[in-house]
Symmetry: C2
Subunit: 318 residues, 2 copies
């Protein structure tokens, strides 16, 4: 009889073992059980179970700089070694010498310049192959871990749990769509067509007698802030019912998801653990969470306190 | 024993009953059986079985004008009845009086003007609700059928067959992404996230105290010709292995799909049936097929002769 009981109650296993028991974990499981229970008035069919997650700071770390920014620095260094004339501005000179403060001093325009120079002039395939190798073999400046291992174990469990319950899980990131797709399947089990991100100019053109997709400089779509609901409209065409973010760049996406007529769950990862990860919120260059912190409670969004809610941080044990 | 034989051989049923026996039908089935047979050296896992189809002239009719163009004319007429001052150009005046030749005289710029005026100033939801109603209740000027019924039965069977064999089926159209999504699930069983199309400016903004996705004038992405491989790169991130089109607007997509390293199938619907549908190819305003007709054989693409290959045209019997 014990065998049959176990078979009949597969949900007895904890779907979120790296989450400490508490209000956030309980709220997640209650929500999922409600929208997947045909007897519940909150029930939604599988095609409406759309979940979208920010990437930097929500699914993996983002300090001291977005991983894509650190990758861009390394690419620029290599390119400049072959052709120093590409370092045509103070920001690019700072970047090539690893001077993060000098890069930051250039603001968003400086970061875009760095991305334009480092992320263009190759095919999409070559870029993704380079990014995949970098993410799986290079080590992070402070943790010493491979970047691909700096994903958050509790969030991987949440993605798996949602998929097991009939959700489609998407990334909706301010980061570059080609960069994230280079690793999304391996890191998160999320295939390329479920990644929405910032898009650079891509052209289908002939190079050396072959038709290829080439990356050029310049942005065609910026998937951050008010851009996130637009990116969701373009790529998914449906309002998500589960959204995870960590910064005010995710505010509009959380607002959009939780202002529909049906049930919806908003989650904000709050970086409170200086010992195991990083502690930051209202101030800084990266991942600022200010308005979201003020309004989360009134809007019914759930704040994840990384220090207390997560029994484990990283997907790979250090 | 007969029961067991039937169960063991579900493929004995013809998956494409509206296709006449012949080279094209045989080639389709051979290709699908090869890439889905684990013992074949052409085998591909399900995640690589991406199929993309043009919409106008490939999945449904496109004469005497793209259905979206006819919809735009009707919307413009309604808008002009309420506010005649919006008819600020010869093209718009021609359009509001149903003068198709006058609209065509304005070329692409005129069509874009018509789309800008008729497809902006409402939410995405409202636009899709209007388009859905129009497609399911208005009748086509020459056939008298509802537009939603002017899909091609053989192509619906092909979409179902591919999905049954583990393919993901996408629309990749020069038509508007919001317009197609209004009907794609009902007409083709294709959900919104598997529709790629031309994109207008969409903004997430506050209207009457609510945050909504508003349609504005102006194109942000034109998903035709060389834009189709780019649209595929943005939305799917993988090279398709099965592509269907009907005009030179699909040439680049067919070329892209069939120039990879693995197996791929290119199909061109050739409009040869003036009695049951329309007959046209090398000349005209709509659906010009010229280069594709010249190069199909050399490139190994399969031409569908609608008159001889299709036992039935429409998904609904007239």
């Amino acid at each position: 009889m014990a065998v049959f009981a176990a078979l009949a109650s597969p949900t007895l296993a904890d779907p979120l073992p790296s989450w400490n028991d508490g209000a956030t974990k309980t709220a997640i499981i209650d929500f999922v059980e409600n929208v997947t229970d045909p007897a519940s008035d909150k029930f939604l069919p599988e095609e409406d179970r759309i979940a979208t997650f920010d990437n930097d700071g929500t699914l993996w770390a983002e300090q001291p700089l977005y991983f894509q920014g650190l990758f861009a620095l390394d690419v620029l260094k290599k390119k400049a070694a072959a052709d120093p004339s590409i370092l045509s501005s103070d920001v690019l000179k700072a970047a090539s010498s690893g001077d993060l403060k000098g890069v930051m001093a250039g603001g968003t325009a400086g970061l875009l310049e760095l991305l334009n120079v480092s992320h263009s002039g190759m095919t999409v395939d070559q870029f993704q192959s380079d990014a995949h190798e970098w993410l799986t073999t290079t080590t992070h400046p402070t943790s010493g871990m491979h970047y691909v291992d700096m994903t958050y174990q509790p969030m991987l469990e949440l993605l798996s749990y949602l998929r097991d319950e009939g959700f489609s899980t998407y990334i909706v990131s301010g980061g570059g769509i080609d960069f994230i797709r280079a690793i999304s399947d391996k890191a998160y089990g999320i295939p390329p067509q479920q990644v929405v991100g910032t898009e650079g100019t891509t052209k289908y053109e002939e190079v050396d007698g072959k038709m290829v997709l080439m990356k050029h400089g310049g942005l065609t779509f910026y998937d951050d802030k008010e851009g996130k609901p637009v990116g969701i409209a373009r790529h998914i065409g449906k309002r998500p019912i589960f959204v995870g973010g960590n910064s005010d760049g995710d505010f509009a996406m959380l607002e959009y998801a939780t202002s529909g007529d049906g049930p919806a769950f908003g989650l904000i990862v709050h970086h409170t653990d200086a010992d195991r990860e990083f502690a930051y919120d209202r101030e800084g260059h990266i991942g600022v969470l200010d308005r979201g912190l003020d309004e989360a409670a009134a809007r019914g969004w759930h704040l994840v306190d990384m220090k207390n809610d997560w029994a484990r941080i990283w997907s790979v044990n250090k």
